[in-house]
Symmetry: C2
Subunit: 335 residues, 2 copies
Amino acid sequence: MAQRVGKRTLRMDTPVSIRSSAGVAGHKEAEGPVGADFDVTYTDDTLGKPSWEKSESALQYDAATLALAKAGVSPEDVGVMLAGDLLNQCIGSTFGLRSLGIPFLGQFGACSTMAQTMLLGALLVDTGCTDSALAVTSSHFCSAERQFRLPIEYGGQRAPTAQWTVTGAGAALIDRSGCGCLIKSVTIGKICDLQIQDVNNMGAAMAPAAADTITAFLRDSGSSPRDFDMILTGDLGFIGSDLLIDLMRQEGFDISDLHADCGKIIFDRERQDVHAGGSGCGCCGSVFCSHIMKRLRSGELKRILFVATGALMSPTSSQQGESIPGIAHLIELSC
Amino acid sequence: MAQRVGKRTLRMDTPVSIRSSAGVAGHKEAEGPVGADFDVTYTDDTLGKPSWEKSESALQYDAATLALAKAGVSPEDVGVMLAGDLLNQCIGSTFGLRSLGIPFLGQFGACSTMAQTMLLGALLVDTGCTDSALAVTSSHFCSAERQFRLPIEYGGQRAPTAQWTVTGAGAALIDRSGCGCLIKSVTIGKICDLQIQDVNNMGAAMAPAAADTITAFLRDSGSSPRDFDMILTGDLGFIGSDLLIDLMRQEGFDISDLHADCGKIIFDRERQDVHAGGSGCGCCGSVFCSHIMKRLRSGELKRILFVATGALMSPTSSQQGESIPGIAHLIELSC
């Protein structure tokens, strides 16, 4: 049974671990700096499907079934599945995972979904509510562009502060086996709204939420940034990452040489023309579940914080003049 | 720590209860058969806001703050907030609840959200992850019509099998105080897809999921429908309810004289021209959190099953020829 530490952090009481994980990604991501670490990459981002939404569902299916196959676990042996995505009414998850027949709790955390699903999965496993939980998320550049901005056929110009939605998915199978990488503790995020309204600068809207959650964890647990090999956010990109480092300094924590961001890692800024970096649920989903998990398993990384951030907005809320509230959920991992 | 019973049911180990709840609703709902039981009703469904989406957010805010006020609990004393709605990217919840400052886990279960949020809240409370959880959901006729069907100004004709999205919200504060009505156990739903494609007949799409979850609970717990005063679904409406009774009969259970449905309860079919009944997250949200909770607290109802159903589709998935997968989550209550 998870132990409460401070106000918002929960420490696992059992050896809750990420028994297996899988990250899949599109052709542009395959050409990026961590392309070789993805479990599967696709040369054709349609994945042979007749619509981008169906392609995104296929990404989730592939990531989920691959994570299960790696652990030798069949769907009927999984207790609960937690998944979400950016598409209206989370259809990437529903249609991607419906054939698995696993009890399902749909999650919406925008780009924080990979951390939110793993966080809830870890709590349900640690407390014995289930023996295993599957956490899944995805995004697709083409389904996101047409839903949130413009259909790609328009060839609209992108702002320098805009991020590039990743075509990819991540899945993690969580159980109490102690095999793989341990989830030590989690911190649930709060909605932070600093009245940022620029939909082409999501990093700025999400950075305050990341700073709030990381600060809450460090204070709750009495730990220092130095206790970790890496503080990994997803997906603040280049602009949001700089802001986070400034905000953390204001809180009295220097994370400048420990901080990494999935939105910065996934693309080569010079070579790939992605402006402020990668974004989308599938960005930290795919990077965490492949590249980062590989480095944790090899021992290159030993103790990290994974903090996924989400912008809780819709095109409708922005058209109605609303600001962009952010949220960030945190997972402490140790290998 | 919740005890597993059978394959999919979890029985609470502590006196997890709905300490307080609030249901708010619009003017049409106020004129319906249970109108007098809502905590607040509005004569102006805009709630004084400049857009229907903002009106829906205001419904959630009102229900949430009223539930807290009834218990004399301030937002800073609530451990976690679980909420979701039907709007794209769940903006009803984000913008309605952002000012409360409570750690937040966004949920997407379509119209099953009231049960999904209470289910997760009950598990987090029972296992000691938090002392209290706030479960909230909403829907608004006008925001739903323009997002899922047509702007109401078009005056489009409705199919006889179509349901009427309720303007309303429900909120329940869950803790271990044992005050109020006890949550005894929960069953997590599976995605059920019988390839129904008619978006004007959601009841038919959701009935198989309700039958699946109720059957799983009855088998897991070894109980019979006769052990309950009511098996309450939300929101199958008139057509889905008839189907559920047939499907349950095929499973060997006669629930015909125990079954009630929030979509049937909330409107007067003859007088209010709602065709197949009410629907939307706010239908069972508002009916359960006011009318049903009132009957439970008065002792008129002693032991019930609350089974909220959701249709996990979007206009995009339907336009692309997809079927409508359903899901249903169950909560066993006793007063």
